[in-house]
């Protein structure tokens, strides 16, 4: 049987991270959480996630730098960026930086779930 799709959630806000992990686990994904870029890279090397949900402002490095470093581990990894910053410039920068989508916090969890489904089948 195929393995479950693996999702890495990177957010330094403990309850945001926990909430996202539980919501995605509820949807049947195998999930891992990291609170910093460094922790995320370590986990990614070990767990080989298919998709990462990354907060744009995480300690140590910005979300887009982390996405490009995660892609060095797995070229096909999809990235969905999340942020409290809804400025158009930031959205544009993230999409140009290779993110599959950008969601502005607080968003509806079902929007994230739908985007993940799309990203994993594209």
């Amino acid at each position: 049987m195929d393995r479950k799709n693996r999702i890495l959630v990177v957010d330094d806000q403990v309850w945001v991270r926990r909430m996202l992990l539980e919501a995605l686990q509820f949807q049947g994904y195998e999930v891992f959480g990291a609170s910093s870029g460094f922790e995320a890279l370590k986990l990614a090397a070990e767990k080989k996630p298919d998709l990462a949900v990354i907060d744009m402002a995480i300690p140590g490095m910005d979300g887009l730098t982390l996405l490009s470093m995660l892609r060095e581990i797995n070229l096909n990894l999809q990235g969905i960026m999340i942020s409290g910053d809804g400025e158009k410039k930031s959205v544009k920068k993230a999409l140009e930086g290779g993110a599959f989508a950008y969601l502005v916090k607080p968003f509806d969890i079902s929007s994230l779930e739908n985007l993940i489904k799309k990203a994993l089948t594209s």
Binding site: V16, M19, E22, F26, G84, K105, P106, S110
Partner: protein
């Protein structure tokens, strides 16, 4: 073509971004520039006047058709800038505070959604959870509006093509208009209308006015947007044939926290008025009950140097 600018504009014309003329070779750089005049305009304290000069290349299908050099009002002295700087600090502080509030709101909302998914339709607690989610959404709208208010005084103005911006906002409403079968018309008498403005704030004003019109009309109603330039004024009218504004609320609609909507924050028009006035403009409305409402925003055209140069 004549270029009569003094050498203080040298910085604008020496960058090799765009060649303005062949002989003599003059170049122009697109963007926002600060020009300090040391001699021409004496400020009592600093001896300098500072101007914000914006330059933009106008392109049409055949290529480049002209250049706009736009100067923000009269020159400001360095001292004039102090209050706006301290206000932008407040804006920054508010932005961080909003960010800090958004995270807990987001985790509350997310956990409530997870809870909602686990409860059966007949469970009374499901209704409580839905109420909590909608209250969190209301808090989120309030926080967003407060952020917009805090940013109004910040100084990030640029050259904004008004028609282009309005078309972008309309694009956001395309599906909603279709769903409600709204007959929509956009009339523009001059595509090249531009303003020296904060683009995000201007967009917020247009979104607020179009959203209000959208909510005021019945299914199959009509919304017209008219953009015009007349007597050194840029005017944008948003006209609907909705239920109109009752006489009892006419005086209150620009007041903070006044709303007739179920989920409104009561800050939309208050914010719009602040933004328009901060850009030196006016906002007003005409409304007849059961016939419709027209909101009008007017902005003064700024001063331009050789409004558009013909190459």
């Amino acid at each position: 073509m004549s270029l009569r600018y003094s050498n203080v504009f040298e910085d604008l014309f020496t960058d090799k971004s765009y060649k303005l003329s062949e002989d003599p070779a003059v170049y122009i750089r697109e963007g926002s520039h600060t020009v300090v005049l040391e001699n021409n305009f004496q400020d009592e304290k600093t001896g300098c006047r500072t101007f914000n000069v914006n330059t933009a290349v106008v392109r049409n299908e055949q290529g480049v058709s002209g250049v706009i050099v736009y100067c923000e009002g009269e020159g400001k002295s360095e001292d004039d800038k102090v209050p706006s700087e301290s206000l932008s600090v407040i804006g920054e502080l508010a932005a961080s505070a909003v960010h800090e509030i958004k995270n807990p709101l987001f985790s509350i909302r997310g956990f409530l959604q997870i809870l909602d998914n686990t409860l059966s339709e007949s469970d009374k607690r499901k209704e409580y959870v839905k109420i909590m989610i909608s209250e969190v959404d209301r808090l989120e709208s309030l926080v967003k509006d407060f952020l917009m208010l805090a940013k109004i005084k910040s100084d990030s103005k640029e050259l904004v093509w008004v028609c282009e911006l309005i078309k972008e906002v309309i694009e956001l409403y395309k599906n909603s208009f279709e769903k409600k079968k709204i007959q929509f018309k956009l009339c523009i008498n001059d595509e090249s209308i531009f303003l020296w403005a904060d683009r995000d704030q201007l967009e917020q004003v247009f979104i607020n006015l179009i959203q209000n019109a959208f909510e005021a009309v019945e299914e199959g109603g009509s919304i017209d947007i008219i953009v015009s330039k007349l007597n050194e004024k840029v005017t944008v009218e948003v006209k609907d044939n909705g239920r109109g504004i009752g006489p009892e609320v006419k005086d209150k609609i620009f007041s903070p926290f006044f709303t007739t909507k179920k989920n409104g924050t009561g800050l939309g028009l208050f914010i719009s008025k602040r933004i328009v006035e901060n850009h030196g403009g006016n906002i007003y409305f005409n409304s007849v009950e059961e016939e419709g409402t027209t909101f009008v925003v007017e902005f003064p055209m700024g001063k331009t140097i050789d409004d558009r140069l013909n190459l």
